[in-house]
């Protein structure tokens, strides 16, 4: 039975990471920081006097579904208890494939939105963070997963519409680090999102796990 005078904040994080061949440097950063991810997040949260009762993280590593490259999706890892399991998952990821420029990042976002996000807690935060060095393909271009949205309006509806999404409409937050490309302009048309331009030719130097953690902490 819930004790209704408690006040708890529960945080779910989905990291959507481009795992194509050109993204090995970012994948290395993720692997290097995996074990300390929770501790670093806690430092940021403590600085903001935010106490999070339960934190979970999930990884969706995407490439290009239109050429038959499936996403690699982990389960939820409770942090810090399952930090080692989270690290084991990301350590197994290999930066490979990708084919032409655009990847199926939007489909990764759709998949992220469809996860079973935490429903308990006085306050919840459902945070998706995505980074890529490429433009994104449109919904419907891939044929591997029929359940994913097939048009941009369907995709936007999934984010915006409270009945559609499994994410709490006011708890959801999305941050995208992506190159300056028309395919990414939709991000700022959706609510509770943040878009940061990155430079693919600089190996996404502007992006670090510290920045990702900072964004997540500020979302709480």
């Amino acid at each position: 039975m819930a004790d209704d005078q408690e006040f708890d904040i529960n945080l779910d994080i989905v990291l959507c990471m481009d795992a194509t061949g050109s993204m090995h440097y970012m994948l290395d950063k993720v692997k290097a920081s995996a074990l300390s991810f929770f501790d670093n997040l806690k430092v940021e949260l403590d600085a903001k006097h935010r106490h999070v009762e339960e934190t979970r993280i999930k990884v969706i590593a995407f490439r290009d579904m239109t050429i038959g490259e499936p996403n690699e999706v982990s389960g939820w890892f409770n942090l810090p208890a399952q930090s080692a399991d989270y690290k084991a998952f990301v350590d197994r990821l290999v930066a490979r494939g990708g084919g032409d420029g655009p990847e199926t990042a939007i489909d990764a976002l759709s998949l992220a939105m469809a996860q079973d996000w935490v429903k308990t807690g006085s306050k919840r935060r459902h945070v998706i963070v995505l980074w890529t060095d490429a433009p994104t393909k449109l919904p419907g271009e891939q044929k591997m997963d029929d359940q994913l949205p097939k048009t941009m309006p369907e995709f936007v509806k999934m984010w915006q519409d409270p009945q559609e999404a499994k994410m709490d409409p006011n708890a959801k937050r999305l941050a995208v680090w992506a190159p300056n490309d028309d395919s990414w302009t939709f991000v700022e048309a959706m609510e509770n999102t943040s878009y940061q331009e990155v430079s693919p030719d600089k190996e996404l130097d502007e992006l670090s796990m510290d920045l990702v953690i900072k964004f997540i902490a500020e979302s709480v």
């Binding site: 004790d3 005078q5 006040f7 006097h49 935010r50 915006q160 409409p169 708890a171 939709f186 700022e188």
Partner: protein, 509 residues
């Protein structure tokens, strides 16, 4: 550089937790511009096809947001006319999908919160009084800022004085009308008032009416404590994480603050919103503290003289009971309580006699004079006079003397009964056995045990449940979680057992 709606941007947008900001210029004046993360206007037909349910819903949401924000802006302009320390929105519009709020840029360097506690005391009190004036202006138009915290109060030096400028009205709301979706209520939990914390944790929109401007007064107390001491106000050490709004004022750690300032804190941190001072009264209370006085708080034990209508009250354990002059004097002597007026100034017996006259009965009730002569274990109780007794009805106490019934404060009635050997009876003429319900924190936790009160016998079935390292008070069949140290103290005070989930008794080390 780009321009938006006539504002020439001075810099690129900087992303922050909620949206982005930039500085812009228009008409030779400099402005702070905020780009809101939500709502977003559905202006792109490729994403929001006309006529679809999603598009219509977003349009309706935006229309509602614009209407409400314009109402708030109008109210804030009225408040600003009363207090120029409010940096309220000057302009509000949307361009494509994004909404923008524009307010005056605050020029000049601002003090860091860490530097405020190092200022002379007079400067600190001046800042607090000015800030309270800002809240009073908001209160006059029924607006709750909703996100009071150090980063939203810019302390700048103007005309040789430090002035606190209150910024960031993006998420303010009218009193009694917080966002319907509790997740949309912003603010920092460590500044939440009890009623705001309850509104958010219970996720019950019908409780929105509880959230009033008193919520900002609570947050202001936490802010003032940081200004005064340089430290964040925290509950006394407990197991598990507890926010200030989850505990009584007496359970906060007030290290570094003197008695007078602590009394101000306790008044502003009253659990019940209606017990807190209004924002307009806070500057006066700060002046009282500045002169070495103390602030009356509902949870402080004392005898209170309300000069305006010459009424006396005994305030004990959070309860207020009207009193006669003589019982007030006797109570004050017996329990070592000060008699104070609403300004916190002590009142002498001579002054009371001057106000009420010698031995003149006044107050809301009058009842038999308290027993004269020495009291205590040496004096044998007088035999009861016929059918005289103390009646307890609906938790209220009455002296029934010579067939006449007079209401009396509980403590007085019990004392009187003891001294005169009277029985205590309920409405049916029986001796009541049901213990008075414990004081309850609005969020449900029983009041912390009083060190003076003898342990009351536990209600049958009450115990402390220990499950997965967490502690729960099981009172009257209802379970409430509690910090470990609190649960142990409560169990000790009430004589409760510790049990596991299977009902087995646990021995605590």
């Amino acid at each position: 550089m780009a321009s938006i709606n006539g504002y020439e941007l001075e810099s690129d947008w900087t992303n922050v937790a909620r949206g982005a900001f930039a500085y812009g210029k228009k008409g030779g004046k400099r402005y702070f511009m905020k780009r809101l993360p939500s709502p977003t206007y559905p202006d792109n037909p490729a994403l929001f096809p006309p006529g679809t349910e999603t598009t219509r819903r977003c349009q309706a949401q935006c229309a509602k947001f614009e209407k409400e924000f314009n109402e708030k802006m109008k109210a804030l302009k009225t408040a600003r006319a009363k207090c120029d320390l409010l940096v309220q929105p000057e302009d509000f519009f949307h361009v494509k999908s994004k909404y923008y709020i524009v307010s005056d840029a605050v020029e000049g360097s601002c003090l860091d919160p860490d530097e405020i506690c190092k200022l002379p005391q007079s400067d600190r009190y001046s800042i607090m009084k000015d800030f309270a004036e800002s809240l009073a202006a908001l209160e006059s138009v029924n607006i709750i800022h909703g996100d009071i915290k150090p980063s939203n109060v810019l302390i700048v030096k103007r005309d040789g004085r430090y002035r606190p400028l209150l910024i960031d009205f993006d998420d303010c709301y009218f009193s009694g009308r917080p966002p319907e979706n509790t997740e949309a209520t912003v603010g920092s939990p460590e500044f939440y008032s009890p009623e705001l914390g309850s509104y958010i944790s219970k996720k019950d929109p019908s409780r929105g009416g509880m959230v009033t401007c008193a919520s900002d007064v609570f947050a202001a107390a936490i802010l003032f404590f940081q200004y005064q001491t340089g430290e964040a106000l925290r509950p006394k050490k407990t197991d598990g994480h507890v926010y200030p709004f989850q505990v009584f004022p007496d359970d906060m750690e007030y290290c570094g603050a003197d008695e007078g300032f602590v009394s101000l804190m306790k008044a502003m941190l009253e659990v019940k919103a209606e017990d807190r001072p209004k924002a307009k009264d806070v500057p006066g209370l700060i002046s009282t503290v500045e002169k070495g006085g103390r602030v009356t708080s509902k949870t402080s034990d004392m005898i209170l003289l309300r000069r305006e209508d010459r009424k006396l009250y005994i305030i004990k354990g959070g309860r207020r009971m009207s009193a006669t002059k003589s019982s007030a004097i006797e109570y004050s002597a017996k329990y070592g309580l000060d008699i104070v007026d609403e300004g916190g100034e002590k009142v002498t017996e001579e002054e009371l006699n001057a106000i009420f006259g010698k031995d003149k009965v006044t107050g809301c009730t009058d009842y038999p004079k308290p027993p004269t002569g020495p009291t205590g274990p040496d004096k044998p109780p007088a035999p009861p006079a016929g059918e005289d007794y103390v009646l307890v009805k609906d938790d209220k106490y009455f002296l029934v003397i010579g067939g006449k019934r007079k209401s009396a404060p509980k403590s007085y009635a019990l004392e009187y009964a003891k001294e005169h050997g009277l029985e205590i009876r309920d409405d049916d003429g029986d001796t009541p056995s049901k213990p008075a319900p414990p004081d309850r924190h609005p969020l449900g936790m029983p009041a912390p045990p009083s060190p003076d009160a003898p342990p009351a016998p536990p209600t049958c079935g009450d115990y402390v449940l220990v499950k997965d390292g967490k502690y729960f008070l099981v009172i009257g069949g209802k379970r409430k979680s509690a910090p470990k140290s609190y649960a142990i103290e409560y169990a000790k005070d009430k004589g409760l057992e510790f049990r596991d989930e299977a009902g087995n008794k646990i021995t605590m080390d």
